[in-house]
Symmetry: D2
Subunit: 305 residues, 4 copies
């Protein structure tokens, strides 16, 4: 059984179906609840969105992944194209639309289209795009249209007044499959050569220049970044941690070295998994950061002893 | 006339009243619209939230501040303690509360309290906490409670079932007053010695290590960071720009030098203003980054010519 | 009148003849004296060796150039191939050679040849290779052979038992023409696009990591190094300054910026001149460190003011 | 049997006597020969000078230590105060002194005194200060005075016209005891907590910025430098390697990590020994570079696997 940020018909649901077409799936009404279910062992793993090409990192995922015990690890990722319909009950025309409902991330991605085509409509936010479609499907609803995925529109018997109303063509969202770190080696992704490692680095208090030092620990070992985002540590303004995706696998010597270096200089590092990249791109590693170079330098050091 | 992210009773409204108690004020239903009003000259300036100690940067503000022409500059900032009430129509008891409505950022800050005290209540999101209070004030509303500021609760005649239900004590939100860059020197904040400079640095495409280089341009000139956040450039996953607050004023030699250095190595830099820090903390500048040191090095260089 | 580290027939003399074939020339018995003559105005400028491809920097030149007032500037450089003869009085055979005399730098460059061909000969050092040749030319000398330049051998009527006895083929020495900084603009080399700038950076006391900071000041402005050598500051062991040649001219914005940055972070910087490279190689400057990029960033900054 | 850079009476001889008062000692006429004797196994170890507080690194030692096979390691160091006498045959007065003989390094340290007190005397260089004293002791010598150590003056029956004629008070020279790397573990210095590690780092050809990268490999592991000197690689001008003393022992995790990092990014690294500091100063290691921090980061990493 896999959990996901539901209800049925969300982009997260689509991501789950692509990752595991045959798995039993259970929706949760929010990202924290979907992650809590994995943590509690209610489900084997959960699918949640982590990053959107338009909106950026998904705060709830970034914060709740690292937040508590037992530790969770990302074991797979998938990238889905995000395209929105303006979905209405059959018979509704564009001229009828007064109140539009959708999820805040979706709202952010269609703001231009709505301003141009429905300048006077009111926009109300709901917990998911699928929940918005469900609301509009209710004949008594006070909402006239939902911004949602085509799959959610179909699921609730709605019609599309417009397809692909995103302001940015080619918007994508990245989803991750997350399991308990102690859920057994069968789930642990082995090194493929095109891997990604996710972790959160917490800076020591009031240490200006800490981010520079974090990046230097990675750079001197030839570890490149795919993503870096600051997140508040929820204490005072200006107190940050950094959520980072780096190229490579925990079993790569350069990644293991960098993580240890970060563990030493940071207040804490929370490891969130090494897993294959969805795009299967093999990283361009400098020759001096290759496994061979690390092995040779170890042999040399041992010869001095 | 000043614009703000309304309606009346939001924390943004409170921020505006503290900044300019006597100004005429006009609410806008979203951050982008409040910024657009300042850009269009409908208002002299607008107040918007930019950063929350729990939720992090306010995406809409970070993205729309830098997004289009004519340029906007931050001219003041203020930090407001954020405290939420659970507001109900008079007579409602905790046992009656089935459906709670609030803004997504507020929802994120009271999630623990709601889970502990109203585990079965449904949480629905609305565009602002004040709009949530307005909704609940309607006797026909299907919502039983709003999570909102005390000022909004009072404005709409609601009662508090609980005060200060935030999960994190001492949560604060930072607001900025934003005006057109060409709005006249009367609005331009002069150097006070306790200033902050906000800008966005866009990296050149596919240049790993670019963030490290950005930080080095700042570090070698003795410019410290107050805040750094990555934002997607809305093209592909992993394409980022960085929204940065640095210590100091455009008229400080070290800041001017750092901005020029960034302008050279980055694809672009969008300057968003130098303005006094709300906390009036005078930064600890290394002696070699002081105005005196910059002036002396210039004099020395000229003597070689 | 030009001074040089003599006597006649030294490689330094050759360098002077190539630089200024028609100038009147006055030899000085040591580098410090040749530099002191330029400082005192006894000569317009002096030629001294600064760097050898085998022995490294010439300590006396590095130390005395920066050491006292009034300041001296390098105004030209030249690179001379260094090739040594084993020079003897006519009639002497290899079997006769018991005592060989030469300058310490020359000795270091022919050590292998002497060990292989004259394993039992004693090697004595003298102040210059030309002085060694002069000594051997004296029929009463207790020395049998000199290691010296072909020109010195000829000047003193000696014969070569062997030519080009250097252990390293292609050894070269770099010489500089040095004048008082206040000797008039006629002597000041203008920017050619293939220039070099020499200076000495003194670290602040007991500041570990200072060299790293020096290099970062250069790197963030796109200034490459041609040469860097540590020199003791003559106080305690481990107290160093750095003698540096950087690519570019004082009139290049990136060089001017780097020098100012160094002046701020170092205990002192002594500028020793910008002058054309002997090899006329145009440096490969990153686009963001070009004059155009510096000018554009300045224009941009001014537009914000 | 220990070798040393002789003859008897040199400062190197004094260093040997302090290090090993009871050892049999054999002088060699040059640093390369003293090192070659240790390499060939003619002596158990040799004492040579490596660094002078006035003149800087001793080129011959720096170059020949790393130059060939089998490898040599430094196993001890000692620092000796350097003080020179002006030594003459009994009866000679200052007014009689026309020709002065000494070693080039000594010459450099008494230049000021000679210029002030014997402005017209000729200065001739000899292979060692002790050899200079021996020369002057010869009644037939054409030299009137030697600049040498008090011990050499006494050894050859000379009188001092002046004591401590150094231009820099408190000048010291550092000497090292050097043995074959394979000479048995009895000679291998164990970790004391106040150690120094010496090595040479060779840069890859034409890689500008290489020194910056070398220093960063050390800095990110919290390894401080005691000494860094560039040495030409004897191929072309501007091709350098770096001779480095770092704080700490090969058995310190931070040093082992830094050496491996350098081995990976450099063309080559030649390890020249870890040995106790003569001054017994315990280095100030950042907490994150301590043995405990390294061990903890390793334990943490293993827990993730």
């Amino acid at each position: 059984m896999l959990g996901y940020f539901g209800p049925e018909g969300t982009f997260t649901h689509q991501a789950l179906l692509k990752l595991e077409p045959n798995a039993a799936a259970k929706p949760y009404p929010s990202v924290p609840l979907a992650l809590a279910a994995a943590r509690a062992g209610e489900v084997e793993a959960s699918v949640v969105p982590i990053e959107n090409s338009v909106e950026g990192g998904v705060s709830a995922t970034l914060d709740y992944l690292a937040a508590s015990e037992p530790p969770l690890h990302i074991i797979r990722e998938i990238v889905i194209e995000v395209s929105f319909d303006l979905a209405v009950r059959p018979g509704t025309t564009l001229g009828d639309v007064r109140r539009v409902i959708t999820h805040p991330h979706a709202a952010a991605q269609v703001r231009g289209w709505l301003a141009a085509n429905l300048p006077n409509a009111e926009l109300i936010e709901r917990g998911s795009t699928a929940a918005a479609a469900e609301e509009v499907a209710n004949p008594d609803s006070t909402f006239d249209a939902a911004v949602c995925a085509p799959v959610a529109r179909e699921m609730y018997g709605l019609e599309a007044l417009a397809h692909n109303i995103n302001d940015n063509d080619g918007a994508v969202t990245r989803f991750v499959l997350v399991a308990r770190a102690d859920s057994g080696t069968s789930a642990r992704p082995t090194r493929t050569g095109h891997d990604k490692t996710t972790f959160v680095a917490y800076m020591r208090a009031d240490h200006s220049g800490a981010l520079l030092e974090i990046l230097q620990q990675l750079a001197v070992r030839g570890v490149n970044l795919c993503r870096i985002e600051s997140r508040p540590t929820k204490t005072t303004l200006g107190s940050y941690c950094f959520s980072i995706d780096a190229e490579g696998h925990l079993d790569d010597a350069r990644v293991a070295g960098a993580l240890q270096g970060l563990k030493r200089i940071c207040a804490d590092v929370v490891f969130l998994g090494s897993y294959p990249r969805a795009d299967e791109i093999v990283p361009n590693i400098p020759h001096w950061a290759s496994e061979g170079s690390y092995a040779a330098s170890k042999t040399w050091l041992d010869s001095l002893g």
